[in-house]
Symmetry: C2
Amino acid sequence: MNTMTNRIRGVLAPVVTPFDRQGAIRTKLFVEQCQWLQDRNISLAVFGTNSEANSLSADEKLGLLDSLVEAGIDMSRVMPGTGACDLPTAVRLSRKAVEAGCAGVLTLPPFFYKSVSDDGLFNFFARLIEQVADSRLKIYLYHIPPVAQVGFSLALIERLLKAYPGSIAGMKDSSGDWNGTQAILKEFSAAGFDVFAGNEIFLLDTMRNGGAGCISATANTNADAIHHLYQRWREPGAEALQQHLNEIRGIFQAYPMIPALKSALHHWSGEDDWKQVRAPLVELTSQQNRELIERLKLFGFSIPALNGERRENRDW
Amino acid sequence: MNTMTNRIRGVLAPVVTPFDRQGAIRTKLFVEQCQWLQDRNISLAVFGTNSEANSLSADEKLGLLDSLVEAGIDMSRVMPGTGACDLPTAVRLSRKAVEAGCAGVLTLPPFFYKSVSDDGLFNFFARLIEQVADSRLKIYLYHIPPVAQVGFSLALIERLLKAYPGSIAGMKDSSGDWNGTQAILKEFSAAGFDVFAGNEIFLLDTMRNGGAGCISATANTNADAIHHLYQRWREPGAEALQQHLNEIRGIFQAYPMIPALKSALHHWSGEDDWKQVRAPLVELTSQQNRELIERLKLFGFSIPALNGERRENRDW
């Protein structure tokens, strides 16, 4: 944790959401995955793109937040996705997150209408902040134009930061465009705007340029190694650690990411339901599944203690 | 109404949704707009793109459906939008629409994830139909790739129709691509798949090619003239009527459509709140507003009896 700002930093996972064969959420398995991640120093960006968050209803998300609180999850290390196309739902989810003691909220822009103006996006976030009306609200702007098609310009970030410096806390940049990330880091990180890389491939570069960490799908499976680089990014071996992360990431990225993560969790946990995704996503084919696991094993990859003993060595 | 299939046909408006200055829905004004439209033989595609449906929460939509029922709106002429990125919400809205006696539901594909497979989209609609589990459910596929970015291929339509012939009733085609619409009409209209043009510019062509009508934003304002063409599409003067519709449409289309419709409703009703849109949309500037109204007036356009007497000359 950043002792100067008391804000969340480090590695976060958009926690994958388990479903049963009927498509219902497996709440207990979800909580266990969150515990497994926190035990490995991975903070929880629940309800992210890789969580299939937009395939969950608002009520389901509110219910899962309650389950995390009840299970004793450290909510100061949780940054739920609270974005929605409609403002009332974004307000409802964000307010709940604040009340649950979350570190912040990761908020997509409204993503149905395309080519909307910065004025319109500014208004959305202004109304969100005014309607949540809680000084504890910390918004991390979720910039993922390849999927949402609607993103944040430098001018919009600047305007939001200037108007709401206490509430606009940072960004997850999933643009996949390092030049863009670098420009955001250069413009805003000194002002206390915490930039998280959208995946671990940019973790070292992000830290070297004043960023706060990364929020990465593969942290669901490659937790220890990603955290290891976050801890050692200033050390001489960091480049090699980064290279190793990139190779694991590359294996997952050769397949549709969400079903690939779930296939790996299924394989190493033995829990059949991990394979389930909600429509419109589809599972890997059995051939894809076999190839993925073989490639990961050839690389020496495995997921340790997935359903095993708890450990308590958190460094936050 | 098509006496052979008992299904809805004709002109539908994606009813614009009025808000007050705080962004709350003006329910009574919404119901009055619905009454005004039905009095002019325009059926109600409430919760469409031009209704800012994705800027409304699921709870707001359920509440508005209740208000329409309570106000005595003819629900057999209502086709609410029930699409959502998540299946539980699409099921909840669709079930409610069926229970309220709606003619059908106009359902977007899940639109957050991009480049999804036909298998995934098929699964979404299959689960929707299975979970609503009501033979009265009539789904109109809402094809609007310019906004949703996710659409329906011919192969997907065919597969859905074959698997669920009783539930897949038709489509609103807002692709803006007449060749695509024509291919859909040619392939499926004979099988009882009712195609509605996504705007009135294609109304005459759609009717001549076996379609069912149109669902058009400007029916909110140019109701009588659009219905007039629908009634007379087989008559010799139809081309001239179509040309007139196109010219009115062209004036609105020169501005962002939703705020332009609301500006016109504001002007001819004197109701200030009609100007309000929800973020991320923004109102027309005062200059745009002035220009739009001037151009409409120069063309002899006005909206009659917007807050005036009811009339009861429905031809359904």
